[in-house]
Assembly symmetry: C2
Homo-oligomer: 206 residues x 2
DNA sequence: TGTACATCAGTGAACGCGCGTTCACTGATGTAC
DNA sequence: TGTACATCAGTGAACGCGCGTTCACTGATGTAC
């Protein structure tokens, strides 16, 4: 196989990034370059024609995952509360638990970024932006959404770690119920306003 | 260095398990056997005199971490609510964020168990027991504690992944406030009872 | 528009390195008498 | 209680293997004329 057109090369490069973005979320950034390239339909040799190093790709793959998700998050342009409920239900679904590769990068990269202390400066920046973005989308009234995001990330992490045992589904269900039945889910209820709720929420008068 | 007494050998073995338990929580189970043995003051060669394989040690180190923590959890024999608040404050502290090796194994091993799909059957069992145990300790009234545990695990994971940015401390603080100011923190407030609250809790009449 | 040639995306073998594991060896410990 | 000897915890070098990376090579692409 000889030289490939510039357009094809660009497409190949993007496919490697997209593949890495998925595999890193699924199995962690320890996935080998050879496996990655193979999954993208290429051989290992060409890797350094496109990327300076593996760390470089990690940075790019993480950033890519957040960019991609930011687009997805725009898909619920309707009212805030309906979008919030849809986000929560998707997030705490068995499907999301079992498909980390196509799932939320906040959960997918938390472990690797929590242990990586040197590199990945760009990725870290994208990660923090992603956390703030999601928290804002969950916010209801006085609650800034950060605590709800913590609950969701924690529930998903525990559900993934306990897969195969009934407690896995219990955790997802418990978090879903808590986050949707009482409106904000957990912040100081007395300060919460009713203004931005959707009509079909099973609200609780406090 | 020749043979060592049976007592010394047993002590060495225990030191390796304790060291592994700490290092695996801190850096993940990818830590090498050589590094582990070195940290325990031994050389790599002796490893397989004590352990069948590295996977074997991972199993034992995880189980050990939970046993050790179960003992620590008994240290607050007083009233339930005071113990609960102490647990939450310790859990969501900056110290805990920065010392995963001496911290909660539920958070420390969530990432590795979430990705490990074959081995570690014993470890998985210990993990699930640990999750149920901690959830029970957090329970207040109608809330079974699982959702609160999710919030804590998620807050710690996000705080660790965003270390170095102000949002890291914000996440810990937000979760701490939510979990202590409103009693249960997030479950259906209307069903909650007041009976098991501590005297110094800033309770909110709903 | 054709033709000659330089470019370079992708290949596959090889590099040094660190991994988990094995093994011949050491010599103090534990035991048989 | 002493003595002779077998045991085996720990050592350090070596094993095969997979890692990230490098490199000579290929040949279609892109370009200069």
């Amino acid at each position: 196989m000889g030289r490939v057109s510039q357009a094809q090369a660009q497409e190949n490069r993007q496919r490697v990034v997209a593949t890495a973005s998925r595999m890193f979320r699924e199995k962690g950034t320890a996935v080998s370059v050879a496996d990655l390239m193979k999954a993208a339909g290429l051989t290992r040799g060409g890797f350094h024609k496109q990327f300076v190093s593996k760390v470089d790709l990690i940075d790019e793959a993480i950033t890519h995952a957040f960019d991609e998700q930011a687009v997805k998050l725009e898909e619920h342009p309707g009212e805030h509360e309906a979008a919030r409920r849809a986000l929560i239900d998707d997030y705490l679904s068995v499907w999301h638990r079992d498909h980390a590769g196509d799932g939320c990068p906040v959960s997918g990269f938390a472990a690797d970024l929590g242990r990586e202390h040197e590199e990945a400066a760009r990725a870290r920046h994208a990660y923090i932006k992603g956390v703030r973005n999601r928290a804002a989308r969950l916010a209801t009234g006085a609650d800034d959404g950060m605590v709800q995001l913590c609950t969701m990330v924690g529930a998903l992490a525990l559900a993934r770690a306990t897969r195969g045992n009934p407690i896995s589904e219990e955790l997802l269900q418990a978090a879903r119920t808590a986050l949707t039945e009482s409106g904000t889910g957990q912040s100081e209820p007395r300060q919460r306003t009713e203004s931005d709720r959707g009509p079909d929420v099973d609200t609780v008068d406090l």
